[in-house]
């Protein structure tokens, strides 16, 4: 578990739980700093996945952000009041949209 001298002034939720973040944090960085390592389950085996490369390459850290699925949390900056949810299984497309 990481500790931060200043855990920031922003607040977002992860599956309803309040998480603090500093301005400029990616969602993935703030989650890791709060001890949250899992953001989704892979649709292939159901195993847990979470932030890994932290630079947009591995696509392991996907989560649902403000209702939008498959967001790369390591590439998305935290905004105050953001709602982040664990993503389980594959995303469906809105057929006909």
């Amino acid at each position: 578990m990481l500790t931060r001298p200043d855990d920031g002034k922003l607040t977002f939720t992860y599956d309803g739980r309040a998480v603090r973040a500093r301005t400029g944090d990616s969602i993935a960085a703030a989650l890791l700093a709060a001890g949250i390592q899992v953001t989704r389950a892979t649709p292939v085996s159901g195993a847990s996945r979470g932030p890994y490369c932290m630079m947009g390459a591995c696509f392991e850290c996907l989560a649902v952000v403000d209702g939008r699925p498959s967001v790369q949390t390591c590439m998305t900056e935290v905004r105050d009041g953001m709602r982040v949810e664990r993503q389980d299984g594959a995303r469906g497309l809105a057929v006909g949209a």
């Binding site: 292939v44 497309l93 057929v95």
Partner: protein
Amino acid sequence: MSYDVAVIGGGMVGTAIAYGCATRGARTVLLDQGDLSLRAARANAGLIYSQGKGEGLPAYAAWTRRSIDLWPDFAAMMEAASGRSIGFRQRGVIAYCLGHAELETRRALLHRMHNQSGGPAAPVHVIDRRELEAMLPDATLGPRVVGATYSPRDCDVNALPLLRALYAGFLQAEGVHLPECTVGRIAPVGTGFAITSDRDTVHAGKVVVACGLGIPALAPGVGLRAPVRPVRGQMIVTERLTPFLPIPGSGVRQIHEGVVQIGTTTEEGLTTPATTVGDLARMAARAVKVIPALAQARLVRSWAGIRPMTPDGCPIYQQSPEHPGAFVAVCHSGVTLCAAHTGPLAEAILAGTLPADVSDLHPDRFDAHAT
């Protein structure tokens, strides 16, 4: 070290032949380069595909048919060898048509194949939009999709786990894999061959030159020839999506794990495996015209690969007239023909010949004037 067979080239074609020789009891060595070599399998869309194959060359249609016939049993052997799925499915393949002109072009191709000696490699039908919708109940087609051609016996597979399974089966059959070596010379020695690489010299009774675009540099030394040129193919994959395309398509295919694969291009004369935004955008735009909901899908990766292409697009197989025991094999459809390469081709090479099926796929055909 002395072997019965040396195969030069550890890609889809060479590894299939090496696997076929080793599993038939031949002491086989596979000389391979490294991860930086071109690896045509990287740009293979993973279809086991018959449509249009062998137009003007019925032997190619027949050879494709033979491989498709062998594929289901071969896929089971590959999954047993590697202990994991290679994503093989025999659900047919759809070639989508946007607009009536495309449909008529496809219909004319089917008609020509139907009238050719031996017919098409596998059954293929023109289907209308309504039939297509019934086959894809979870997808909404774009307004310009007027129909498709559908070949129900065709299959798809994941090319990379397939290549991995071939390696696993080759090693289980006590084949010897020599990676990170570049062959510089093949020399006839006695009744066999000495193959010299930057790593070592190996001796073998037979040698199969199956190194794709590396063939022209090596083959003439032992009286073989296979004119090949590079063709670049670009690919896109999306994030994993809930399964909604149960039947693979040419250009748009949802693999069993949920990813949608889009591509590929056929670009001449390029040897750099780089992507270009314009080509990727055109491929993606066509996929969205077929399935508009794909516009919401996130693209995860794009890449390019370099594949060998022969002058008529058909495979080339030859045994050297001056140095019997030296063979060359090259094709653009290493996945479709994989089952035939591991089976009848490897068996014939061990017997010191080529299958009768491929006698018309000899490079001498490039000397004759087309009539």
